[in-house]
Symmetry: C2
Subunit: 435 residues, 2 copies
C-alpha cells in the first residue's frame, strides 16, 4: 500500500463539476489501496476575485490581512472537495495549512516553510480516511497567524507534506498531460517527457517551463520526493521527476512496466523558452578591475536577479568595454535607476534597455558526457537564419538569447535538430541520442 | 474611555463601498477616544453563494466541512474591513473566531459558545489598535476545528466578546434605525423605541421581531451587556437594550441627557408579528388523563418547538376534546408524521394542519402592573372585525392568533389602540400609559 500525495491546481477545481471529477480521482486512488493525502488550490478565479476586492479597498493593504483574505479561497475549495469525496462513500476531512502543521516564517505573502508537523494528517490516514489540505498556506509559527507561500505555493505545500509524511510519490495534477519536450503551442510535434531528473526539471523550470514551480522542484530534490506531473482531465500517466532515471517507479504502472525502469540517460529532455526577460547593456565601461563587480553589486542591491551576462572584449584603442546582462523585465526600471545613480562613480558612457529578447534553453542530463551538443544547437539556429545575441551554459543546459520575434522559430529548429519531434504524435520515451 | 464592541451585519458590508463606510464609523469611534472591537458578518450574499456551491456538490455534506466552508465568508469581510480601516490611518488587525478565543462545543452548524478567552483581542486593544473579529464562528475546543454558531451567530459573537472583555456597550449596527413599536412596512406610523429592557426585547424577538437574534439578547441579559441597536447608514442613536430603564446610559449621549435616564416604565414597548407558524389541531382526543401529555411528548420528540396551546372544553356527551397548538411551519410535516404513528395509541379522531395563521404579540414591561391591557387589546381586534383564534400570555406579553390575511389589520389596530402611533413621524420616547 502506497502513501500518495495528490495536488490539484485551481483549473482542476474551477467549478462544482470539476470538483466532483477530482473527487472521483481521489476515490479511485483510495480504492486502489493507497493512503491518500490531497492538496488543493483555490477554485479557478477565486484568488483573482479576492485580489480585485482588496484593490478596491486599499492601495497598500497590510500583508497580514492580504494573506488572511487570500487563504479563504483554499478553505472553500478544500471543504467542497471533502464534501464531494464523502459523497462518493470515501471518508474525507479537510484541513487548513495551520491545521495540517505547515509552519512558516513571518514573511507574509511569500512565507518559507520552516517545518511540517502533520500530526492530524497522519491520524486521519491511519483511520483510513482521506486528508484534504489547503495549499498555498501555512501558519506563522511565532504569531499563530495564517501566511501564504507566494508563487508555486500549492505545489510546495504538496511536496512539503509528501516529505513530512514520507510519501511514496507526490502527484501534481494539472491541466496539461505532463512536462513536454517543448511548449506544444509553439511546437505541435512536442512530446510528453516520461521521465526527467530533478536537475533537468530545475533547469527547465528556471528556463521558463511553467508546469512545475521551481521552488517545489528544489524542495522535492532536497527531500528526495518523487514527483508525478499529470493531467487531472485524462488520467493518463504523465511525467515522473526523480533523482535518477533508474529509481523512478510509477506506483500506478502494471508490474510489467517496471522492468524498463533502468535505462540509459537520454541526451536531451527538452527545449524551454522564456519571454519574460529584458536585457540591459552598459556601454563604454572603463576596463579597470572591479568595475564589472560594482555594476552587478548595484543591480543586485536593486532587487533584480541577474540571469545571463556577456562582456565584450575590451577594445585596446579605447580601454573601454560593453557589459550586457539579462534580468526579469519587471526588475528593469529599478535596476536602471540604480545604475544611473553610479554613472559618475563607474564612469560608463551609456545605458541601453531592450525588452524585445527571447531566451531558448536546451536541457538534458546526457549532454555533459556528449560533446557536440552546443555545435549542433548553434548550427540549427544559424540554419534557421536566426542571430544569437548571448550564450550561457550549465553542466546540463545551454541557453541562448535571440530577438523575441525569432524565438518560436528557434525553438522549432532546435527541437527538430535534436530529434525531439514526434512524427505521428506518439509519445517516445527517450529523445534521440548523440548520433 | 469606553470599550465599545461594534457588530456589522452582512448588508452593512455588502460591497467595497460599504466596507469603506463601515471603516469610517470604526475610525470615528476610535478617534472619539474609545477602545474598539468590531465583529463582522460575511459580505452580502457570500454565505448564500457558498450554500449554493455546497448544494451543487453534495445533498448531505458533512457538517464539519459545511462549517469550514461557511466561515470563509467572514474571513473575507474581516480582512477587507481591516484593510479599509488601516487605510484611514487607524491600525487594525483581523482575527478569526478561533484566534479571538471563541470556544464552542462540537455541535457543527449550531455550536454553543462555552467560553471566550480573548487574549489576542485584549493585547490588540492594549496596543491602541482596533481588533476586527469574524462573527458567526468559533473553535470546537476539543478538536481544534472551526464551528459555526448558527442563526444569530454574529450578534452572539459580539455579545459574547463584549461580555468576555467587560465592554461598556455592544453596538449592533444594522440596516434599520433600531427596534420599532411595530414593523414600519406594516405600520407606517411606527416609532423607534429608544429604550427597552432585556425581558421586553426577548419577548419581542421571540414573537417575530427580527432586528436582534433572541439568542444574543439572552446572552446579553445573562452577562448584563448593554446593547445598542442602530443603523450603519444613518449613524443616529438607535434602541438601547439593558436591564432596567434606569440603568440605560447612552455612552454617546451628551451629559445633559443622562438626567432623564431614570423614568417610569412605559406600559407597552411594541407590537410584534409572526407569519412563520402553523397550527395543528388534533380532534376527538379521548378525555383521559395523560393523553394531552402524550401528544406533546410525541411532537417534541419530532424536533418541533411548540408555541401556543389551546384545549377545548370536553363535550360531556362524547367524552372527547380537541387540542390545537402552534409550531414553526417547517416543523409541521415531521410533527404530523409523528402524530400519525401514535393514532391508535392515543385514539384521536383526526389531524388538521393550518398554515394560514398569523400571530400578534403585544409586549411591555409595564403591563404586569396595569390591569385592562388584555381587554383593550381584544376590544381593538374585535372593533377591527377580526376573529381571535388562540390566546397566550406571559407576564409582559399577550399573544393572539388570527387568520394570516387579517394579521396586518390587527397589528395596525392594536398599535393605534395603545397610542403607539407617531402622528408626525417624530419619535416619542415612551408610549402612552394606562390612561
Amino acid at each position: 500500500m502506497a502513501l500518495v500525495v495528490q495536488k490539484y491546481g485551481g483549473s482542476s477545481v474551477a467549478d462544482a463539476k470539476s470538483v466532483k471529477r477530482v473527487a472521483k480521482r481521489i476515490a479511485e486512488a483510495k480504492r486502489a489501496g493507497n493512503d491518500v493525502v490531497v492538496v488543493v488550490s483555490a477554485m479557478g478565479d477565486t484568488t483573482d476575485d479576492l485580489l480585485d476586492l482588496a484593490a478596491q479597498i486599499s492601495p497598500l493593504p497590510p500583508k497580514r490581512e492580504m494573506d488572511i483574505l487570500l487563504t479563504a479561497g483554499e478553505r472553500i475549495s478544500m471543504a467542497l472537495l471533502a464534501m464531494a469525496t464523502n459523497n462518493l462513500g470515501i471518508k474525507a476531512k479537510s484541513f487548513t495549512g495551520p491545521q495540517a502543521g505547515v509552519l512558516t516564517d513571518a514573511a507574509y505573502g511569500k512565507a518559507r516553510i520552516v517545518d511540517v508537523v502533520p500530526h492530524r494528517i497522519r491520524t486521519t490516514i491511519e483511520k483510513g480516511q482521506v486528508a484534504i489540505v489547503a495549499g498555498f498556506q501555512g501558519v506563522n509559527r511565532k504569531e499563530d497567524d495564517v501566511t501564504t507561500l507566494g508563487r508555486g505555493g500549492s505545489d510546495t505545500t504538496a511536496v512539503a507534506l509528501a516529505a513530512g509524511l514520507g510519501a511514496d510519490v507526490c502527484e501534481i495534477f494539472t491541466d496539461v498531460d505532463g512536462v513536454f519536450t517543448a511548449d506544444p503551442r509553439i511546437v505541435p510535434t512536442a512530446r510528453k517527457i516520461h521521465r526527467v531528473t530533478y536537475e533537468e526539471m530545475l533547469e527547465l523550470a528556471a528556463s521558463g517551463a511553467k508546469v512545475l514551480a521551481l521552488r517545489a522542484v528544489e524542495y522535492a530534490r532536497r527531500y528526495g520526493v518523487p514527483l508525478h506531473v499529470r493531467s487531472s482531465f485524462s488520467g493518463a500517466p504523465g511525467t515522473l521527476v526523480s533523482g535518477t532515471y533508474g529509481d523512478l517507479i510509477d506506483p500506478n504502472a502494471p508490474d510489467g512496466d517496471k522492468e524498463e525502469d533502468v535505462m540509459e540517460d537520454p541526451l536531451i529532455s527538452g527545449v524551454a523558452h522564456d519571454r519574460s526577460e529584458a536585457k540591459i547593456t552598459v556601454t563604454g565601461v572603463p576596463d579597470k578591475p572591479g568595475m564589472a563587480a560594482r555594476i552587478f553589486e548595484v543591480v543586485a542591491a536593486s532587487g533584480a536577479n541577474i540571469d545571463m551576462i556577456v562582456q565584450n572584449v575590451s577594445a585596446a584603442s579605447t580601454g573601454r568595454t560593453d557589459i550586457s546582462f539579462t534580468l526579469p523585465e519587471g526588475s528593469g526600471p529599478s535596476a536602471l535607476a540604480a545604475l544611473r545613480d553610479v554613472k559618475d562613480e563607474v564612469g560608463y558612457e551609456n545605458l541601453e534597455f531592450d525588452d524585445q529578447i527571447g531566451k531558448l534553453s536546451l536541457v538534458g542530463a546526457g549532454m555533459k558526457s556528449h560533446p557536440g551538443v552546443s555545435a549542433r544547437l548553434f548550427g540549427a539556429v544559424r540554419d534557421a537564419g536566426i542571430n544569437i545575441e548571448m550564450i550561457s551554459t550549465s553542466e546540463i543546459r545551454i541557453s541562448i538569447v535571440t530577438r523575441a520575434d525569432s524565438l518560436d522559430d528557434a525553438v522549432r529548429a532546435v527541437h527538430t535538430a535534436f530529434g525531439l519531434d514526434s512524427a505521428d504524435g506518439e509519445a517516445v520515451v527517450y529523445a534521440g541520442t548523440g548520433r
